[in-house]
């Protein structure tokens, strides 16, 4: 009797979670296993995969200059966009946390680009960046500054792309930090105020330490997403000029779908997985050094 009830319960339970579990197995678990195998083959996707051992990995590490170049570009992009968007996001969150009438409108304005698609964003910034008659250089010209050629300049293209990414994404850190700010009890600020702490020292001694858990979460999340930047690059630069903005995922995409090297692209995917995993692990290890969780 008891056994019957238990098995009936199991059937009912699995009816509820079954579709999702089946989906995860079919569309995630199985592909992960296939992906490990694919990375060890020479595979164009047209004929059967030919087992090649670690040849793809060897080629990536020893023969492919684009592998290192795109990794470096991705690192530069990630560092720039994470530092700027978390820093700028903090400024916006502090402003947005002020109790002023109508503050919600400003917060919504800063968050709006997060929900706009990368193609529209890419279109607009592409025209803003036009060297001769774009809005940005037009303004710079008013101040007698000759603007760069932005997207076609080897030295400026990456900076231009980082600016767009920060503009589009800064609302997200703002939101997370606002949530963090709102969880800090007012009494702590009051106590510091009574002790005669200036606004500046209240920020450094009270606000910032209590915000470190949010900052920690954000740097990890932003790192993981920035390392997989694709949309803006695809729309605005196609990796150019001369590979100046060619990033890792764009290169994976090209290897697989432009050059027909599926096994090679799979190997690139796994290397990315290891890199992201290692850096995330390192961030967790460094957590104790700077993240403050209260008494």
């Amino acid at each position: 009797m008891a056994a019957q009830v238990a098995s009936r319960r199991t059937v009912v339970g699995w009816l509820f979670i079954g579709p999702v579990i089946a989906g995860v197995v079919a569309f995630q678990f199985v592909p992960v296993v296939v992906s490990v195998y694919a990375s060890l083959t020479d595979w164009s996707g047209l004929s059967a995969p030919r087992f090649a051992g670690i040849a793809n990995y060897l080629e990536l590490f020893t023969k492919d200059p684009l592998f290192y170049l795109t990794l470096r570009n991705t690192a530069v992009f990630t560092l720039g966009s994470v530092v700027l968007s978390v820093g700028f996001g903090l400024v916006l969150a502090l402003l947005g946390n002020e109790k002023l009438p109508g503050i919600g409108i400003f917060k919504a304005a800063f968050f709006a680009p997060v929900v706009t698609n990368s193609v529209a964003v890419g279109f607009v910034w592409f025209w803003l960046y036009q060297p001769e008659n774009g809005l940005i250089n037009g303004f710079l010209a008013q101040a007698n500054i000759e603007g760069p050629t932005w997207l076609t300049s080897n030295s400026w293209a990456m900076i231009a792309v980082i600016i767009v990414a920060v503009w589009q994404g800064v609302g997200y850190p703002m939101l997370i930090l606002l949530a963090g700010l709102q969880s800090i009890p007012d009494s702590l600020h009051e106590a510091a105020r009574i002790d005669g702490a200036s606004a500046w020292s209240r920020f450094w001694r009270v606000t910032l330490p209590l915000l470190t858990p949010s900052l920690f979460f954000l740097t990890i999340m932003q790192f993981i997403t920035s390392f997989q930047i694709f949309g803006i690059i695809f729309v605005m630069t196609h990796g150019g000029p001369a590979n100046a903005t060619n990033v890792y995922i764009y290169q994976v995409y090209q290897s697989a779908f432009s050059f027909g090297r599926l096994g090679y692209a799979a190997a690139m995917g796994w290397i990315l997985f290891v890199i992201v995993g290692l850096v995330t692990f390192l961030q967790w290890r460094l957590e104790k050094r700077w993240v403050f969780y209260g008494e």
């Binding site: 339970g13 999702v20 989906g23 296939v34 697989a256 799979a266």
Partner: protein, 269 residues
Amino acid sequence: MGRAALLYVVLAVLAIAFAVPLIWMVSASLKPENEVMSLPPTFIPSTPLWSNYVEAFHTVLPFFWNSSKLAFLNVVFLLLFASLAGYGFARLPFRGKNIAFASLLATAMIPGIIYLIPQYILYREIGWIDTHYPLWIPRVLTPVFGTFLLRQAFMSIPRELEEAAKIDGANAFTIYWRIMLPNVKPALAAVGVMTFMDSWNDLFGPLIFVNSQELQTLPLALALFQGEYFTQTNLMMASATISVIPPLVLFVVAQKYFVQGVTMTGIRG
């Protein structure tokens, strides 16, 4: 100047500088072609050319329809499967639950790019390439964050609510559908809004799995036809504006739930 006034000035300057790209997009979409690139740049079109929108909408209508259809399918079915699984994990006692839940969370840690190539092969084998299936079926069946979020919501509902129904002889599905679902509406709204945004703004999926022009979604169609259809910048900007209106409107309307979802899961970047 008072502190509040100063803050408003700082906020206003930042917000205006911040909004310039979007304002410029709308302004360019209403200009005649020869005015778009005029120097010095003008923000207010001399005479707003609303016909640009008629023309742009005419061009992008099929893609607008495709995007809408996919967003609808994604939202409806993701909510269904995620809430079923969320309820199962939150409330039903059964064998294998813990292992299943741990496996579900484990998949959240693997970057999407790892799945991509085998998925492409799989879809090709089963004839899904160049159809809309890859853009919704795999997604609604793998709603990891949605399941997690809804599980949390179900767990916060008092047990007494179910107990009474159970005594009345209601089965698990009736309890889930009649009693539990109506009680987690805010969480459903949060997951639904985020699912809409992800589906509407997706670039990678349609780019890789769909080839035919008539099956393309709105954002990607814009990207692909850049130059081909939109030799006129004003029409391009009108089309881009059309593509950002639905998510912006939804964001304004459902801001509360969207913000809640973002802060709870942290999956947007």
